[in-house]
């Protein structure tokens, strides 16, 4: 049976989420594996969300926010960049496959790019197979 990864996407309202909308209204095709959660700003993201997502069985986590300099709230994504960089380092040092966690800056007008990124990330995660390290499994 073909493995279909479960990917959690967390996107900021003003840029990436709107960009995703644009991809939708322009009928761009991209894989259905991404489950999207909307936050008002990428700086809302608590690194524990990412750890939790992997524990709950996510095979990949994709974070989307405004380009640094273009944050709706001015500087939110500047803090988020540092936070998510450390989050990435934690996951790597813990031994999780680096390709499972990605951060991309995608603006509201970049519908194409959104579709590209999701397509590429989904394929990459698919290639890595199911995430088993952090995933919590219970027998029966």
């Amino acid at each position: 049976m073909d493995f279909e990864p479960k990917i959690l996407g967390i996107a900021c309202n003003w840029c990436t989420y709107t960009g995703a909308d644009l991809a939708g209204t322009t009928r761009l095709k991209y894989p259905q594996n991404l489950r999207m959660v909307r936050v008002m700003c990428s700086s809302r993201i608590n690194p524990s969300f990412v750890f939790r997502a992997f524990q709950l069985g996510a095979d990949g986590v994709l974070i989307g926010g405004c380009h640094p300099g273009d944050c709706h709230y001015g500087t939110g994504n500047m803090y988020a960049r540092r936070r998510l960089a450390i989050t990435k380092k934690i996951l790597e040092f813990a031994g999780l496959e680096p390709g499972r966690f990605r951060v991309e800056w995608i603006s509201a007008s970049e519908g194409n790019r959104f579709a590209e990124v999701v397509t590429e990330f989904t394929a990459a995660v698919k290639g890595l197979g199911p995430q088993t390290k952090l995933k919590v499994s219970h027998d029966g």
Partner: protein
């Protein structure tokens, strides 16, 4: 009865025993010695003073599922976890720790409600005690002060003693003798010489005396009751305490627990697990009020529970002087000192 095996044959004995049921014994790794469920016979060690964590987890696991359940679509299902049924052996327990099982029996069996989980494990387990014979007591141990001897038989079903490349096993209770009889094929009969050696070793061990603490139960309970309101005393005793929970978790007689329903998605369990009165939120109420919000209040609770309240409830001090709390405390708080200071007041 008295049986023996060659020390070199210990792993064979262990192999045979683990074939028949769970065996818990001391295992050494680069961190120290702790009791573990044995899978590899070579892992067992008898070269140690005492374990870092107490063996109470054999009867009172740190985490225990009481009911497992599945929620979600349709009828939720729940299944009571069956009580254990496997005959178990606990090998290598020092007398103060074996005696701690007796102390905990007072609470888990003798306080009006019987704890079926504790009871079933106690009934199913044969305790092979490992008395102190010619070890110098660790400087922080004080079990002698509590009326516990280095060769105390209370709590043990069998005693294990080393003798010149051999291991002697002495049945102390019906349960212990029954195990030795059942497993007769694994042992050889002891000789008269072995009997003599056993008695001499026991006498030698009984002469071991630890540092001394004045802690007659009635007087100690009284004194601590009178000291309850002496905030300055308790603040001084608790000045260094960081209120972690390490002492509670290594202690053979601490037994507070919490019960919670824990699940990931739909599968979960109602679980019982160790709690600690030293935790900041131990007495935190839903309203937000915390009657023991200060460290000194929590330390006072811990000490008084062992040396005052337990005496009022069960007539005995709930401490066996094993020294673990002192050894593991990140700031070296010594309960011996606290009681000594209290008795001086």
């Amino acid at each position: 009865m008295l049986k023996k095996i060659e020390q070199g044959k210990l792993s064979e004995l262990v192999t045979a025993l683990i074939d028949q049921g769970p065996l818990y014994a001391p295992v050494r790794d680069d961190r120290g010695v702790n009791f573990q469920s044995i899978r590899s016979p070579l892992a067992v060690t008898l070269d140690f003073y005492n374990s870092v964590l107490s063996p109470k987890a054999v009867f009172f696991p740190q985490s225990e599922d009481l009911i497992s359940y599945r929620l979600g679509r349709g009828e939720p299902t729940a299944k009571t976890t069956p009580l254990p049924t496997a005959q178990t052996i606990l090998l290598g327990v020092r007398p103060p720790d074996a005696y701690s099982f007796f102390l905990m029996d007072e609470l888990f069996l003798g306080s009006g409600i019987v704890d079926p989980y504790w009871q079933s494990r106690r009934d199913l387990t044969v305790v092979i005690g490992y008395p102190f014979i010619n070890q110098t007591p660790d400087a922080v141990d004080f079990y002698s002060s509590l009326g516990i001897s280095a060769t105390d038989t209370r709590g043990s079903d069998i005693f294990l003693i080393k003798k010149n490349g051999e291991l002697l096993f002495k049945g102390l209770t019906e349960k212990g003798n029954a195990l030795l009889a059942k497993q007769a094929a694994l042992f050889t009969e002891a000789t008269g010489d072995d009997e003599q050696y056993y008695l001499a070793a026991l006498a030698q061990g009984a002469a071991i005396v630890t540092r001394n603490l004045d802690c007659d139960p009635k007087r100690t309970a009284s004194k601590l009751e009178n000291l309850f309101a002496d905030t300055a005393f308790w603040e001084q005793m608790a000045a260094a305490c960081i209120s972690c929970g390490t002492c509670t978790f290594v202690c053979p007689t601490c037994h507070c627990f919490d019960i919670a329903d824990e699940n990931i998605f739909r599968d979960g369990a109602r679980r019982r697990f160790w709690d600690a009165c030293m935790f900041t939120d131990f007495t935190l109420e839903a309203s937000g009020h915390n009657p023991r919000s200060r460290v000194y209040q929590r330390l006072r609770q811990k000490v008084c529970h062992k040396y005052s309240y337990y005496i009022r409830n069960f007539g005995v001090i709930s401490c066996v002087g094993c020294g673990r709390c002192t050894r593991s405390c990140p700031v070296n708080i010594d309960i011996f000192t606290i009681i000594a200071e209290a008795m001086k007041k």
